[in-house]
Amino acid sequence: MTAPATTPPPLHLVLGEEELLVERAVRGALDAARLADPTADLTRTRVSELTPPVFAELVSPSLFSEGRVIVLEAAQECSAEIADAVLGYVAQPADGIVLVVLHSGGGRSKAAKSLPTALKKVGAVVTECAKITKPAEREAFVRNEVRRAGGRIDAAGVLALIDAVGSDLRELAAAAAQLVADSGGSIDEQAVRRYHRGRADVNGFMVAEKAVAGDRAAALESVRWAQQIGVPQVLVADALADAVRTIARVSAAGRGNPNQMAGELGMPPWKIRKAQGQSRGWSAGALAEAMRVVARVNAEVKGAAADPDYAVERAVLDIVAARERR
């Protein structure tokens, strides 16, 4: 964006809910508009608070045609009349006005749902900002961030950073930029470890997985991390119960093809396959014991025990002990 564009694209469509990316798209549109007209100002309104006349006022050309960037937030909530007003305007856009429509991609009413397609048809600049959920996407995001900040990062460094910072994109972006500045461009695992320690994302399922695998040390470590970052004990207890029950159910059903058992057990095949692997170290007696332990801890974290943290820890130890006793 070095050469000043004479006319910025008059219509942007930002699809998705990833807040950081949406913000960036808005900022990008504003920057582009300011290249053309440095005095361009930004107006943000929620679509649900908008009426057609107010919208018409927002986008009507002004006397001196100052640059304006109008951001319509949460367009998935728009009513049919607003959608009509927007589509009516974009057919004949006014000079110097940039309209940015933020849309989650969903929407309840028909008008709200079909708005993105209609905007794409009239040539909106589309920016996709879908929520990042897959680990691979998150890793790609971190790599991208580092590159944006002008550095490089290796694969181990990416994993270490996500482990330590968590999955919040804003924090990841900030941490990546900071690391590039601190380490002089090239980031590896050691560099990450120098500035970040600990684990940001521990959930009940990680604890449960380690406990039913009989890995006492790792299970206790993750329990402590979970306590540290404030994972509610009830969630940990539920995850423990779910893991033990799943193994018990699957091993009670006997050996078989996971795909065929899925319907009968009411679980997805991958879960059955995993539980079949986990059930190898468990005897029937041990599972019965573990079932009682998880039922107990479920009551304890809901007020039956004086100290729920201790109750969870004890349950993890008891599960591992039950598995070893067989």
Partner: protein
């Protein structure tokens, strides 16, 4: 001499005597014949096992107090409206959710302070006083201790144990203990009032564990009988490891279905009524603001409905667990050779088989597991987790 209205109370002769004496004193008091309150007092606590008729006792007593022709004729407007819960001076608190809140009780104290309008007494009945939260019980204390001249509090609870009723409330009430009604009395009531055939009535009375309402349900509802059969098949039906989960699933899904069925139709009707009351479907200025308020009210209603559904589910599950516990008790009784009456006489063969197979110690462990499961559900443990742990123990012994 007791009024005909007392026939509602099945097999509770001692309690009826106390209550009708109180009603006579109350009538004398109202008529101004005496200033001595005699057998009447301002706060009563009815306790007794489930199904013994605590709330019936309270309503009947209210009817006797409000009776316009004597002390419980069962015919006059006062009697009939009190029994139906529509009398203007009889305030009924019937919790549908999991607990009774402080706010509810504060409002109640206000109304309790009023004079009776059409009847002789301002009667406040709190069914399930064991569901009072601690704060709610405290809000009630002052009013229960010293109500206005013509106000009387009737509280119902399973027992006067501090777990059920706080000691402070307990000490301000006169206690009326109801007993488990004898099977003969239950059978008679089923035949006379509900027109059940004698054989069925006798069977229902023998297996209901002294719970009149349950006996009626079993005698008249085919589904209830089926459900009971399914529950009682569990103890001897746990052969393979996978049976555990099948049985647990059964127990949970029946409870869920029960709650779902009962509440769904009701929930929707209530929500529609509320939306209409809040002016849904309107057009014009100010509709948006009104809609927001309506949505908030509906959300609140949904919360209450959810609490009600949870309670129905728990109650159904609890019923099944009580039946199960009764079976294991029968096994213990049979094994010891005692001649005590069985909880499930129609399952005597099963319990005899079980008594031969299991040692008393393992039967006791199973019984403990059932009771522990009831307790766990009380603690808000997810029913599925608690029930599966229980059934696992039932299989193992």
């Amino acid at each position: 001499m007791t009024g005909p209205v007392w026939s509602q109370l099945v097999g509770q002769e001692p309690a009826v005597e106390v209550l009708s004496a109180a009603a006579r004193s109350a009538a004398a008091l109202v008529a101004g014949e005496t200033a001595d309150s005699g057998a009447m007092t301002h706060a009563w606590l009815f306790t007794g096992p489930p199904g013994s008729g605590r709330s019936v006792a309270a309503r009947t007593f209210a009817a006797a107090l409000e009776c316009s022709t004597g002390t419980g004729c069962g015919e006059c407007t006062g009697c009939r409206t009190s029994l139906a819960g529509t009398h203007a001076d009889v305030r009924l608190v019937v919790p549908e959710g999991l607990s009774i809140s402080v706010a509810e009780m504060r409002a109640l104290v206000q109304t309790a302070a009023r004079k009776p309008t059409t009847g002789h007494w301002q009667v406040v009945i709190i069914e399930d006083a064991d569901r009072l939260t601690e704060g709610a019980a405290n809000a009630l204390l002052k009013a229960v201790e010293e109500p206005p001249e013509r106000t009387v509090f009737l509280l119902c609870a399973p027992s006067d144990h501090p777990d059920d009723v706080t000691v402070t409330i307990r000490s301000r009430c006169r206690l009326v203990t109801l007993r488990t009604p004898p099977p003969d009395a239950i059978a008679r009531v089923l035949m006379e009032r509900d027109g059940v055939a004698e054989e069925m009535a006798r069977w229902a009375a023998s297996v209901c564990g002294g719970h009149v309402g349950r006996a009626r349900r079993l005698a008249t509802d085919e589904d209830a009988r089926k459900r009971r059969d399914a529950v009682l098949r569990i103890p001897l039906g746990l052969r393979r490891a996978s049976d555990v989960f099948a049985c647990a699933d059964d127990l949970i899904s029946t409870a869920e279905a029960d709650a779902g069925e009962e509440s769904k139709a009701r929930d929707e009707a209530e929500q529609d009524a509320l939306r209409t009351a809040m002016g849904s479907g309107g057009t014009g200025k100010g509709v948006a603001a009104a809609k927001r308020a309506a949505d908030a009210a509906v959300r609140q209603l949904e919360k209450r409905q959810k609490s009600r559904a949870t309670r129905t589910q728990r109650d159904t599950l609890d019923l099944a667990l009580v039946d199960l516990a009764g079976f294991y008790r029968d096994v213990l009784v049979t094994g010891s050779g005692a001649q005590a009456t069985l909880n499930h006489p129609d399952r005597a063969e099963d319990s005899a088989v079980a008594a031969r197979q299991w040692t008393p110690a393992s039967t006791l462990r199973r019984l403990e597991a059932v009771l522990a499961c009831r307790e766990a559900i009380e603690w808000n443990v997810k029913p599925r987790i608690a029930v599966e742990a229980m059934v696992t123990t039932l299989r193992e012994g």
